[in-house]
Every structure is written in C-alpha cells, then in structure tokens.
Symmetry: C2
Subunit: 198 residues, 2 copies
C-alpha cells in the first residue's frame, strides 16, 4: 500500500522515504506535531528543510503518513497474534509482546497518535477509523478470552483502554537501544498480562 505520489520511484527513493518517516516520528514524539519544524526533521537526515518536499507533499502529509504507519504496525502485531491462534489470553499476550517489540525494535520510533485533531478532516477521519477498528478487534479478543475462561471477567472497554494506554506511552520513557530493549520486551508485558488472568 502506498506511493500515490507522481515522483520517481527508484529503490533508494522508497528507503529514504521510510527513513524520513522515522525521523519525523522521533521528532513528533519529542516535541509534538506543531512543535517540530521541518528543519528539525531534515536535520536528522543531514538535509535541508526544503529537501523534504521531494519526498512528500507537505507537513500535513508527513504526520498523516506517520500515523498510518503507526496504525499499520499495530494492526500487523494484532493480526499476526490472531493468526498464531490460541486462547484469548494467549492471543492477547502475543499481541502485546509483538507490539511492544515493535516499539522497542528496529522499526525505529513509532509515532504516538496524540495530535489527531491537527490532521486534515479527511485524514483524521481515516486515522480515527483505523484506531476504532484496532480497539474493537482487541476488545473482541478479550471477550473471547472471557468466553473460553482464559481471561478474567472484566470490563473489556476499560481494560482495553488501560492496556492501549500503557503501550502507547512507551515512546515517552523508552529511548534505549538493543540491549535494554530486550529487557523491556521481556518484562514490560508481564504485568499487563497478569491483570487478565482469572
């Protein structure tokens, strides 16, 4: 899914675009959407601000792409977990582990979707849609777990909110590299899953 741009599309082009999105995500997470200038982003790439326009139509599209990327990564974690199968608890655990790993791993920083109101109306609606779908799908897993007895009978809406919040907040405190990442991926989900056990 993706390049609707009328720009050339050498292999290198796509790679650099990806780097751009990560650099932007890092900046946005630190200083917010409006708080980061295109100069901030381009500096991470050793470029000038104007160079960004070669890869993307403007700042608005940049956030939009970042948020789409964040949604896609979350969705992938969830879908993979579902496909792997198991009890509700097992699927939920698998998802959390995968999503946490994505946050701490090679994918580089994932944009926190915290400034959705800043998006253009159409884009915002799309992102909200993706977000709602994600929540709904996760809550369904919790429901299944309650059904099959692997998860304690809880308010799935609130429980989902809590787990998503904890995950979404990760970029706020995690800035480490590989070594510490491994530790986080191992220990962080433990507490979250513990609250689900009957």
């Amino acid at each position: 899914m993706v390049t609707d741009s009328t720009k050339p599309s050498t292999p290198a082009f796509g790679d650099k675009r990806e780097l751009l999105l990560r650099a932007a995500a890092r900046c946005f997470n630190e200083k917010g959407y409006s708080g980061t200038s295109l100069k901030d982003v381009s500096a991470h790439l050793g470029l000038t601000d104007a160079a960004i326009y070669y890869y993307i139509d403007g700042k608005q599209q940049l956030v939009y792409e970042c948020y789409k990327r964040a949604a896609a990564i979350g969705k992938l974690a969830l879908d993979d977990a579902i496909e792997a199968g198991g009890t509700g608890l097992e699927v939920a655990t698998s998802y959390v582990q995968r999503h946490v790993a994505a946050h701490c791993g090679e994918a580089g920083p994932i944009a926190i979707m915290s400034e959705i109101p800043s998006l253009r109306p159409d884009d915002r609606e799309h992102i909200l849609q993706l977000s709602r779908e994600h929540s709904a799908k996760f809550e369904k897993i919790l429901d299944q777990g309650i059904g099959d007895g692997s998860i304690h009978d809880c308010d799935v809406r609130m429980t989902g909110n809590a787990i998503m919040g904890a995950i979404n907040w990760i970029p706020k405190w995690f800035h480490g590299d590989g070594e510490t990442a491994a530790r986080v991926v191992r220990t962080f989900p433990q507490y979250l899953m513990r609250g689900l056990i009957p």
Copy 2:
C-alpha cells in the same frame, strides 16, 4: 504555592486564572502545545487572545503552569494515599483511584505532560524533577507491597511505567461528564490493580 506575578490579586483573579489553566490544559491535550494558539485558549473563556497576558506572562509560562498543576494533582493523589496508609497494595490502589478520579472529576482536564521538550530549559528541568520524584515514590510503594507480601514480585520500574502510562493516557479517550465519570472511576482501576496481586 504560587503567585509570583506582580499582578493584582483579588479573589476573582485567582479563580479566573485557574479557569485559564484548565482551558489551556484542554486545548493542549487536544492539539498539543504548539498546535494551540492563544486564540484557541481565550475563545474557551470568551476573551481575546491578548487578554490572556493579563493573567500570565506568556505562552511558555502557560504550559509550565499547566504542567506544574498536573504534577501537583498527581502528587496530591499519591501523598493522600500514602497518608491513608495500609499495605503496599492498598496504598497503590488508593493512589490510582484518586488520580483517576482527578482526571475524570471536577478538576477539569489535566494537562498531559507530553511536550516537555518544548519547555524552557529551567522549567523543563523542574518538571522532569517532579516527574522523577513521582515515579520514584510510586515505585517505592510497589517495593513495600512486595515486601509486605501484598504485591506480586515484579519489575517495579516496568510495572510503574505501565500503570503511569495507562493513567496518563486517560485524557485521550475520556471526554465524558459526571455520569460516565463515576463508572470509569469505579471500573478503570480494577484491571490495573489486578495485575499487582500475588
């Protein structure tokens, strides 16, 4: 703690200042610090942007005060819980309930401290300091709970991160009024506490 401003200080002045901080917090939570103009904030109060300067020195100070307020509210919840006493688990539960109640309650929206890098260096250091103290104090409670057997032996750093993340994220999904607030305050903490039980 507080008015170092050289402005007049009628009783009404303080009240309006408080309303200003809440309006600002709401705006900041929605569109981020740089994303909200002083016009946005003043509109919530039926004022002009310039009127804000009667109450506060500038936009920078506005965030700073918002963040200080957020920190103070969190600290109050924690200190009250500690004073109420009990096992580690009881204190932790009490804290979470109080903090969640503050988020959903009359205190109006509490600013999410998500754009700390945008603060002036001195202010930033102060806020970070408060934030660190808060985390440390909460982790100590978890340690106590592990010690007295009321809390499962867990990684207190990660567990603290998870719980704080879940709480900090509340303003992102809670926009309701009294009725729904009561339900949230009752059900939201349940899951969080469940993960602590041995």
